[in-house]
């Protein structure tokens, strides 16, 4: 076995050719005489998430990241493709199996406050998932788990926080509580969709550090969804770059950032501001044109060709597939070897 192939039992989640196509709801008048345009939000993605890693999914707004997260959470059904969790096909599940699945795969939402009952004190916020999943029979039973969860996200002293309402917490503390609430079910996989994007820099650094500590001490696996490359590099082991419903590059974080192969990844990197002096009067040279096209109107060939500074005629016709260049670094660009 070569070093780059991963052993089956090292993979916690395998996603194969996964698709999600939305059929828009048009009013009768709107739909008259117009063919229905299908929105291909996720359009055939394949990747493995390895046990104990932080896997980042990166891309612009509208690239299909949240839809991928929802598919993995099984909040929506796939149009096509397959998902395997821990060796078990989970593409379609009956109700009891789905409940089991929802315990194993947890999600942290972008706005933790919106997903919490404001009339619940911290203790109740944490007890709720336990009672939903019928873990323990009363508060006495559940208290050790609640304390353990608060401890792990460092909402301490516990006595002080357990009696508070969510509105009595700072943004950072609320995000800690949201994390504690997902950890309490001891999930195998945690999907975090932009967990820190609306938070200021210092709190963001604090939360990511806390999440990483918890991940390492509990041996968790994360799918970290973001458009922020700089935190992804620092936080994640591997990065997958998504564009218009497809993965265009995937590899170890340092490799993807230091040695990007796909023109889209290069453009994302060029766009990130670095805290250095001397750039105020510089108009940044962005190696990308315009805005992301609609997923209802995906360009033929390489779907990036309309914005790519390297596109040639062949890019308009031929669909690039992911190519492995070694070291677990893959890209889907027809011209990567010459640019």
């Amino acid at each position: 076995m070569s070093t780059t192939t991963v052993q089956e039992n090292d993979v916690i989640l395998r996603v194969e050719g996964l698709k999600k196509h939305f059929v828009p709801h048009l009013s009768l008048v709107e739909s008259l005489g117009k063919p229905k345009k299908i929105i291909k939000a996720v359009d055939g993605i394949t990747f493995d998430i390895r046990r104990g890693e932080i896997f980042a999914l990166i891309g612009e707004s509208g690239s299909g990241k949240t839809t991928t997260g929802k598919l993995i959470m099984k909040l929506i059904d796939a149009t096509d493709g397959r998902m395997v969790l821990d060796g078990e096909d989970v593409t379609t599940l009956d109700k009891p199996k789905l409940e089991e699945y929802r315990k194993k795969v947890q999600m942290i939402f972008q706005d933790p406050y919106a997903s919490m009952n404001p009339r619940f004190k911290v203790r109740k916020v944490l007890e709720e998932p336990l009672s939903i999943h019928r873990i323990g029979t009363g508060y006495k039973d559940r208290e050790p788990l609640i304390r353990e969860a608060l401890e792990s996200v460092k909402l301490t002293p516990i006595e002080e926080f357990i009696e508070r309402y969510p509105h009595m917490l700072s943004g950072g503390q609320r995000q800690r509580l949201a994390t504690a609430r997902t950890l309490i079910l001891k999930p195998k996989l945690l999907v975090a969709d932009e967990p820190v994007s609306m938070i200021d820099l210092s709190t963001r650094a604090e939360i990511l550090a806390m999440m990483k500590d918890v991940q390492q001490s509990m041996g968790l696996t994360y799918l970290y969804i973001t458009h922020d490359l700089s935190t992804a590099r620092y936080f994640a082991d591997r990065i997958a770059v998504m564009y218009l419903g497809r993965i265009v590059e995937i590899g170890p974080s340092d490799e993807v950032i230091d040695n990007p192969l796909h023109p889209y990844t290069k453009a994302l990197i060029a766009a990130v501001p670095e805290p250095e002096t001397g750039k105020v009067s510089v108009i940044k040279d962005l190696p990308i044109f315009g805005e992301i096209p609609s997923p209802a109107n995906i360009p033929p060939g390489c779907r990036f060709h309309t914005r790519c500074p390297y596109a040639k005629d062949s890019c308009k016709e031929q669909v690039p597939e992911l190519v492995d260049v070694g070291g677990g670094h893959l890209h889907a660009c027809l011209r990567a070897h010459e640019i």
């Binding site: 210092s202 750039k279 805005e291």
Partner: protein, 322 residues
């Protein structure tokens, strides 16, 4: 030194709430020079937006000025009659792109109609007269004229932000306050909007106050950096004095910079500032940053450090810097 277009002297603006006065702007002084971009940074709640709305002389209720002066092109605007502020100052001389404005466009009106209403409020004119002006300004922000006929939900985030910027420029102000204009956008769109703002600034000879919590972004846009903490300015200096080899002087700025991720220089872990900013109803005695500061000593706990020049063009408010 070029001409001062704005001068703020010992400004205080408090929100009078049932719990007491929130001292959101608590004795701040600075100037804005013609053609410069002054970056205002700091954690959430430190008073950045309050500073912006104060400069427009429209603090949100229950905010009230408690002292100090705002001079815009030499005119003191706090004592002015509201009518005169509306006629000459607000939007005409100083305008603002509000935090989250792109998500506050009215969903039921077209972009053109909303732009027309803004225009009409200050310069009554017919729709026909307004149309070329609207199209011209859409052009300035890189949007085709058809956008006027679109509804906000038909536009991407970047396009909506361009519309908001066009509207802020409508009445030909010379100073524009931009409050987190790119925070809700992804990196590519953010970079495009920043490029656009830099071009507009040149083209119209504008001066900017650029508010954000993202220091990395400030490094790319602002000539000078104004760091706020708990309603006060704690450091005010040239871009290079924060982002150059010497690094910032104030421990707060130092920590903020260490918490800023760098794409190309990976560190093992990002630093963060433990604790949270103080309650602005009862701010701590002495230096407001003292409870979280890694360089704190006895004096900091009892005596408030003034904002003082520590080298040419570099002000800081910290007992360790003097």
């Amino acid at each position: 030194m070029s001409e001062k277009v704005l001068e703020v002297k010992n400004l205080k603006m408090y929100y009078h709430t049932s719990k007491g006065a929130v001292r959101a702007i608590d004795d701040i002084s600075f100037s804005l020079f013609k053609g410069e971009t002054l970056g205002v940074v700091g954690e959430s709640g430190c008073g950045k937006t309050s500073m912006g709305t104060s400069l427009l002389r429209m603090p949100t209720v229950p905010g009230k000025f408690e002292g100090g002066e705002i001079l815009i092109q030499g005119k003191s605007i706090i004592p002015m009659a509201e009518r005169d502020v509306r006629k000459d100052i607000r939007w005409q001389t100083i305008s603002m792109v509000f935090q989250g404005a792109m998500n506050c466009l009215t969903p039921v009106y077209t972009v053109g109609r909303q732009m027309y209403e803004t225009l009409y409020e200050h310069k009554p004119m017919s729709k026909k007269e307004a149309q070329p002006i609207i199209e011209e300004y859409l052009g300035h922000v890189g949007l085709p004229p058809e956008v006027a006929k679109r509804y906000p939900h038909e536009l991407s985030g970047g396009m909506k932000q361009r519309v908001v910027i066009a509207t802020a420029l409508f009445l030909k102000p010379s100073i524009v306050i931009l409050d987190e204009p790119t925070t809700a956008l992804d990196v590519v769109v953010q970079a495009q909007i920043i490029n656009l703002l830099k071009r507009l600034k040149q083209e119209f000879g504008l001066s900017f106050i650029f508010i954000t919590h993202d220091l990395a972004l400030e490094s790319e846009v602002s000539d000078r950096i104004c760091v706020m903490y708990a309603g006060k300015i704690v450091e005010l200096c040239e871009n290079a004095q924060v982002f150059g080899p010497q690094g910032p002087a104030h421990p707060y700025t130092e920590k903020l910079l260490l918490a800023t991720p760098r794409l190309h220089k990976k560190v093992e872990s990002l630093a963060f500032i433990p604790g949270a900013p103080p309650d602005l109803v009862n701010p701590p005695q002495g230096c407001r940053f003292a409870p979280r500061c890694h360089k704190v000593f006895d004096r900091c706990l009892v005596e408030e450090p003034p904002l003082r020049e520590i080298e040419p063009g570099h002000m800081a408010a910290c007992w360790r810097c003097f």
